[in-house]
Symmetry: C2
Subunit: 213 residues, 2 copies
């Protein structure tokens, strides 16, 4: 099932709500949460919480709030996190390797995360054939075959800027539909492929603006 | 000099423009750029480019465009990137170490970056006293002294989620005014401290939504 015409701004907030519900789910004393409390914990206004969730159904009761476990399950389903998603990292340098370790740990620790790094790709013959936290490193020329064989649905690009578009093109050609780009460069992908950017440099440069108050 | 009341949405786009100008500055044949071209390359509409830049002054000429070198210098000045900014990383685990290497390389390669990682902090006695790409790792208890001694203005938090708020509190107490948080948790900082989040997990969870088209 897919909900049409929902803005990405709404989708961006759903993982924030899910994170709060994950935290609460471990506390047996909290079975209900008000939109007020959910909003405060997620850093979102309560009216916006209600509006965001209303796009997907009637999850709460007026004056009572949301059932934590139920809403958590619903959000996991909406975000496709009720099933394992297999993820590749392109670039097994220090950043790619660190993301592999980090994400692998999240997958082990957190049942709502469900994004499993199962392959790394690199061009360096010294890295190919090695493993990082048990995740194999393949040669880039194996990308297309491995996407099919391992059912890779998502990829993280962690190569230097000058190789990032090539990596994106290879991923798109192999059929990957969702890409998170860490390289400090703007990438072009065809319609139907979803691209997110997590550019450390841009965030740091933005923060620099606020230093001279 | 500080420009008041400019929205963060504007500030977020300035590094995108700067990146385009950096790319063009290495090409001696491109001395001028139109708002149209700048917009296309930055992924921003041309009217918005003109509006964003107009907040800070009259940088372009009608029908001529912007002088690349001049606008680049102005943007670096506006973003406080005309001077070296000293940055700390709290957490010298695999993610912290990878960010240290990555950011150190950006600082060496790119004159508009100007964010220099000069210290890492950790609690692990095995890491304290070591160096990562020549950057020393200090004990967390040295944070306050080192912020003053080294003039650390910005920090990146790369510790596990459960320690991230403690790290933020220590940074705030030491006088750091700008923090980039990589831990998958919402942090609270007092007014006057600027916090940016680069949460890999949230971006991946958002992308997962788009997998089932």
């Amino acid at each position: 099932m897919r909900w049409k015409k929902i803005s990405d701004a709404v989708i961006r907030r759903l993982p924030l709500y899910l994170r709060v519900l994950d935290e609460l789910a471990s506390d047996p004393n909290t079975q209900l949460i008000s939109s007020q409390e959910l909003g405060v914990r997620a850093g979102v206004g309560p009216a916006l919480v209600r509006k965001d969730l209303a796009w997907f159904g009637e999850f709460g009761k007026q004056g009572v709030g949301y059932e934590v476990e139920f809403l958590r399950d619903e959000l996991r389903r909406i975000l496709n996190l009720d099933q394992e998603i297999k993820v590749a990292i392109v670039g097994a340098g220090s950043l790619g390797a660190a993301f592999a370790r980090y994400t692998h740990k999240r997958y082990s620790d957190d049942s709502s995360f469900n994004l499993n790094i199962v392959a790394l790709f690199d061009n360096d013959p010294e890295k190919i054939g090695a493993q990082i936290d048990g995740i194999p490193v393949y040669g880039s020329e194996e990308l297309k075959d491995k996407v099919e064989e391992l059912d890779l649905q998502m990829a993280i690009i962690a190569v230097p800027a000058e190789y990032a578009q090539v990596a994106a093109d290879q991923l798109v050609a192999a059929g990957v539909k969702a890409i998170l780009n860490f390289a400090p460069v703007k990438l072009t992908v065809p319609e139907g492929v979803h691209l997110a950017s997590a550019d450390l440099s841009l965030e740091l440069q933005r923060l620099a603006y606020y230093l001279r108050d």
